[in-house]
Subunit: 232 residues, 2 copies
């Protein structure tokens, strides 16, 4: 039997992802669960507490998959595993990615938490890249590898917001959102492309095709979706 | 003699950049100018109208420099020129970059305007990359060039927000902000690095050094600035 606290978190996550956090009040959440606002407040003082708890879970998920196995070298399949994990984690907490500025702006505690999360992720991400380099799947100087990691991070962290800002409300759907998030992984694969070697290089085209295409990004965002015909 | 309308725009831009748009009311703006709120409302119905006008000017600036000369091939100095122009335009309208989600969320007209701006910029950016390729400064398939352009765009558009979310309020200063924005250009130079050829390749290290270093980004964001000691 799922506890009320767990049900509040699950329902809030679902509503935030679907409607956007700023469009969902604690009253909406209580109503969706069929509980009284008082019961909800018993578990969470306010909406910020729910957001912080959901962020903590997101952080735990990400830190869990940003690991390098101790007992064997990394393979190109591991690379796909990381991409899939990134995609799932962004999709599962897309309300955070889409509206991070707003969420951080209204909560200093969340700011501190986020700062720590980014620092830890950058540190772990660097270990993953070092693991790929040791396995001969990536070739880059320390400097280029760090720049690549920062670029990969910013892309992963910003893509959902970028896409969000370009899709008109009336065209939004879960299916389109999923396709566009996959295009974000495509963009990251392209970022890494020039540095891949060995098996990872051999599977580069397959990895790209798995997530999208350049025409895909541009077509989705500026073709079908464009409201106005652009003439320059 | 500068018109009141111009003075309102200049002062608003300065205050928005310094304090953040959401912390500046039309009353603040009127007060800073020594005019009555009524006088301000005579020129702009509300703060959104001021933001939209400032966005339009930003858009005009960016579209003006995203041009390829008709009469000669592009040189690596042109590349530096584009970077400087990107840097200046982001710095000049940093309130937009830092808080874009918030600004777009509250104004559908601005959303449409932004969508058109991105579509035009992507189209022009592609022409710049094509120009660099024709001049032998860049080597990439059409597909890789489009992916590179989208990545460059997302980095340029998102960097200021990324950095903003990681610098605690009490450590913020114009000097630090400028240094961090320069690091954003460094990140873009690194993005393009593997595709550069000829003179652009020869000047790659100089271009990187002009804007920062990998240690620079990581040190600034996760070394000196980190609030907590991260242990993984």
């Amino acid at each position: 039997m799922t506890s009320t606290r767990e049900r509040i978190l699950a329902t809030s996550l679902e509503l935030f992802n679907r409607e956007g956090e700023r469009n969902v009040s604690t009253n909406h959440i209580a109503e969706a669960l069929g509980i009284s606002p008082g019961n909800l407040y018993y578990h969470f003082r306010n909406k910020s507490e729910i957001v912080k708890q959901l962020f903590l879970r997101y952080q735990t998920t990400v830190e869990a998959f940003l690991q390098v196995p101790n007992d064997r070298p990394l393979t190109w399949q591991d690379k796909v595993g990381y991409f899939e994990a990134i995609l799932q984690s962004i999709w599962g907490a897309r309300f955070l990615h889409r509206d991070l500025g707003h969420l951080l702006n209204q909560d200093e505690e969340l700011q501190d938490q986020y700062r720590e999360f980014v620092a830890i992720s950058i540190e772990r991400g660097l270990k993953v890249y070092e693991g790929l380099r040791s396995s001969g799947l990536l070739e880059a100087s320390d400097e280029d590898m760090k720049a690549l990691l920062v670029n990969t991070w910013v892309m992963a962290a910003s893509w959902a917001m970028f896409v969000q800002s370009l899709v008109p409300n009336e065209k939004r759907s879960d299916e389109l959102d999923r396709t566009l998030l996959r295009q974000g992984i495509y963009q990251i694969v392209c970022l890494e492309g020039p540095y891949l070697r060995g098996e990872a290089r051999e599977h580069l085209e397959a990895m790209k095709a798995r997530y999208g295409s350049s025409e895909g990004t541009i077509g989705l965002l500026f073709g079908e979706l464009a409201l106005t015909t652009v003439t320059t």
